[in-house]
Symmetry: C2
Subunit: 360 residues, 2 copies
């Protein structure tokens, strides 16, 4: 157990934006909510995945929706607690631990705010080790844990509690409700026991995000991030073009980056659905989900989300291996390139990088 | 109090199809479910609106969705009870009375089936005095009663309980969920007290439907129905053309009828959204919602739903005055022609009929 003080939030927000792989919403908005909650209620107690007792009842607390809308529409503040209480009422017993659903973006911060105001311990781990756009895309699904009962609340006072036969159905139904709510909803879901937390969650990712944020802010931050994540440099260049539309509650689009320095004469295309899904250099796929594709400001090393990408930005694109849980058959079925509609075999980034070095 | 035996269902189904004004789904499907439930559990106790005690907790039990889909997709049987129990759990105390939401179509029958298997009294009245396509379109809304908490269940085992700030929001959210459920959902909603039942419901409509069914089956049934409903003959002709599409969970479209006998040389156009909304003879509006526009088989007097309308059918189109509750400002705001997108003033059918007689 350790305490997470307000001062940790700055690094954590930067690290979460790096692990967010372009999506998950801008963590700075969530950071303000977390800051406010810690100031009011004191620092948050963080427990390791292994410290969660057998009789625990833990649940993901998160925000759902298109990050493009999340920037404009800040939660009122108590919707997440409302979702929490609705889920707890449905379960009929107290929820003892708050779980981050994803370590990327705003959803790394909202559970901190909720844990502070609910005075509950926060688990150091998450269900993605990054960010993903759909509800069923988390490691508990790989381990057969049901996403429902799930509670949803909006900023106007509308709520829903749903129960579905499969986690794909949860996504479908919750997505429609979220669109009706005005493209964002605050949600509580994936309730689980201590043993389920210990098996299915990716451990230590809160601490990892904090570390990454600290590293990124140092001189030569990009090198430090690459080292910490055992990642690879994919490309350096200038953003030439960004297409983006909010469709069915998602921010979808692509960015075209023209090479500079060592990459001059080449083009890198990034396609995203909230998060970066695939990176294509000229005609060659150089990285795909579930590996992490990360866009950093080439000068400052600061992460840039898909909705912040603009013409003229000078960026470094890097890729890093995802958690091993995603590299199983069940994992790739949920979040591999084919699920997202790309007719591309998943090849771990380490192998792709090796291959490209061989060619060069 | 009286008992509703299985034998009453035949007349009731015909009467409900008449009052359904083309929508509400085919009551014959619901009749089979009601029959089965009464055979298993005994006749249903029917109580008048005035007999509902102050401390009652009553709720609408109904099916939501496009009638075009309802014909093909018969409820599994226990989804409505599931919705009932979910609403009851949310309310935290036992529901004592079953209320029909609409007297038109399948929703006149499903509450009978539910009352039989739940062994609860059924109230002789409903929230429309006819059928309407949207959830907020019922007299309890006119009296400020909230539609939520509302429970929804599908045939696969998916469920939702929603709570909304306004009944228009209930419609929006429940409609999306229903579309996701495959265009039909079994629902429990509009929980209310005894005094609320007595003020807001349209009384005696179950008995009215039974009477209408008996009348319609007699020789000269159309004349009998006209007399019982204080209605007016609008047109007699042959269906020349039906356009129909299922859109956003509704069956929308229009039917063109070419005149025969006294109406030869004229055309009547009916526009519908589940129910008939407006009747236009050549270029003149001859009837609009909330008055009842009813299509009957010209030979047998049997009612024909919008989804059964076919080229070549010989039909009589009649109109009848709606309940007075719909003719208030609040009522017309909810279900007047303008709400449905027609730039037409509501004129009670009695006045329209008088005017046309004056012209003739």
């Amino acid at each position: 157990m350790r305490l997470l003080p307000e001062e940790a939030l700055h690094d954590l927000a930067i690290g979460a934006a790096i692990l967010g792989t372009g999506g998950g919403g801008n963590p700075y908005v969530g950071r303000l909510l977390a800051q406010q909650a810690i100031r009011r209620h004191g620092p948050v107690e963080v427990v390791a995945v292994d410290e969660v007792p057998d009789n625990a009842l833990a649940a993901f607390l998160a925000m759902m929706g298109a990050p493009t809308v999340m920037i404009e529409k800040i939660p009122r503040g108590d919707e997440l607690e409302q979702a929490f209480h609705m889920l707890q009422d449905r379960l009929g017993r107290p929820i003892s631990h708050v779980l981050p659903a994803e370590i990327g973006g705003i959803n790394s911060m909202l559970p901190i705010a909720a844990a502070a105001s609910l005075r509950l311990p926060l688990v150091d781990g998450d269900g993605m080790g990054r960010a993903f756009p759909e509800i069923q895309m988390c490691t508990p699904t790989v381990f057969g844990i049901s996403a429902t009962p799930m509670a949803l609340a909006d900023d106007k006072g509308n709520t829903a509690v749903i129960e579905t036969v499969e986690n794909n159905w949860t996504e479908r139904l919750a997505r429609s409700i979220t669109v009706d709510f005005g493209c964002t909803a605050l949600i509580a879901l994936y309730s689980m026991s201590g043993p389920q937390v210990r098996t299915s969650l990716i451990p230590g990712t809160l601490t990892l995000a904090e570390e990454l944020g600290r590293i990124a802010r140092q001189r030569d931050g990009i090198e430090g991030v690459l080292e910490r994540l055992r990642g690879f440099r994919l490309f350096e260049g200038k953003v030439a073009d960004v297409e983006r539309r909010t469709l069915g509650g998602f921010a979808r689009g692509q960015a075209r980056i023209e090479g500079l320095d060592a990459d001059v004469g080449s083009t890198l295309t990034l396609r995203f659905q909230n998060e970066h899904l695939i990176a294509v250099r000229d005609d060659t796929v150089v990285a795909t989900v579930p590996d992490l594709i990360i866009v950093l400001d080439a000068d400052t090393g600061e992460p840039i989300t898909t909705e912040e990408l603009r013409y003229g930005f000078r960026v470094a694109v890097i890729a890093a291996p995802c958690d091993e849980r995603w590299r199983t058959g069940a994992g790739l079925e949920l979040v591999g390139p084919r699920y997202f509609g790309y007719d591309v075999e998943y090849v771990p980034i380490e192998e792709r990088a090796d291959a490209s070095r061989t060619v060069a």
